[in-house]
Symmetry: C2
Subunit: 273 residues, 2 copies
Amino acid sequence: MADNRPIGVFDSGIGGLTVLREIWDLMPGEGTVYFGDNGRAPYGTKSKSTVIKYSLQNMHFLEQQDVKMIVIACNTASAHAYKALSEKSDVPVIEVVTPGARCAAGTTRNGKIGIIATKGSVNSGVYKEAVERFAAPGTKIYQQACPLFVSLAEEGWWDNEVTSLVCSRYLTPLKEAGIDTLVLGCTHYPLLSGAIRKFMGDGVTLINAGKAVAQVVRETLEENGLSCGGTQEPLRRFYTSDEPELFEEVASPFLGRGLPSGTLKYNTDRFDV
Amino acid sequence: MADNRPIGVFDSGIGGLTVLREIWDLMPGEGTVYFGDNGRAPYGTKSKSTVIKYSLQNMHFLEQQDVKMIVIACNTASAHAYKALSEKSDVPVIEVVTPGARCAAGTTRNGKIGIIATKGSVNSGVYKEAVERFAAPGTKIYQQACPLFVSLAEEGWWDNEVTSLVCSRYLTPLKEAGIDTLVLGCTHYPLLSGAIRKFMGDGVTLINAGKAVAQVVRETLEENGLSCGGTQEPLRRFYTSDEPELFEEVASPFLGRGLPSGTLKYNTDRFDV
């Protein structure tokens, strides 16, 4: 039995598009409805209670679009709100922390793993706990909040001298600790991976959870008999809580291509939260 | 006749506290109710329609606190929403763009004025128009959006090597243009004034509109017979749309002192927008 309902994906804004592109690449037949809460972004500096409140609203909006699954494509929302959302949802809820954590635990050879994320994610401790769950006993975990990275990614300063200097400020403790694996624990950070790799050196593996999340999405669809038939032209719909024009202006580098456009089916609509 | 109702002040978050402190210093007897929309901050990257919507909500909330005046202590909200708010308000509405613009026009000697602000403020053109309204004919105006400055101010990196480098990136065109006056057109920027001054040199006067705004507040209160009696202990109330604890953590450097606390009258409450 094929289930041709779309997958619902939300993020605080555009960062989750780095997850969406991996879902498209792995499951080109699946339809998707993406909601970016640009009107209230970013989430990384906001409190747990606020992020839970917004995430529940976002999920309810996606449920109204008749989605068969909810993907929380935002690390901060995953860290703070996954439990609340999975308790209240009738469809499977996927978060982005666990896939990245499992991947990091399976990658490290020297048992020293770094995690970089927003203040909210770091302070929640959720990422550290997730890595500990999968890692060998004795694995050392080093966390670092990197608040400036989001602004650098959105400013398009992916690899200039400012970015190098900020990398040096934030990442020196992780480098000195001798980590060999670094989790990019925020969906904005993959855009800075060139600068991060340059600073950390080739001996450090960067973990971008996007691909691992897409795998979990596929497995969960299959296990629950929710995969699509694969013959339809898949839905590619976007909603944002700020102006659609603003969304389209900044989306391309995150999505790795322009937003699909030209027909009503591929539009970017405004949803007032 | 004394009017002992408080003055209502709002900002997207904490930046407006740099205006509030000037109001307190100039009019120590006036009560104030401050609302920081931290749950949806920042405004500088959001669209005009969204900023107007949020600003109207913030104003209505302050009106419910029985304020005698509304101060829009946020440059982006002033640029986008002043017109909408002043049309709908029963009490005087004060914005922060005009006082800074007038001050800059009266300060320049060589007729070259720089304006640094958020993307939203710069794109609105409101700042440029305001300076043109007060400046001598032929005055040259140079605008520059400085999106990273807000993150640097909130990260506490007010004057380090990253800040110097970012100043150099953003401000070199203004320096090369030979401006002698620079408007700090965002309430976060006064925290970076040390680094900005160091880069621009002593020949450039930095305009922080806070003091000029407080003057306009006083004049407007007097003209409308709204000044307080001055014998009461003034109200100092704070509201935020995120967790009060988070507000208090980041507020002090902007306010220049700790939040007044210890009594119910001086509390920080949450208001869900």
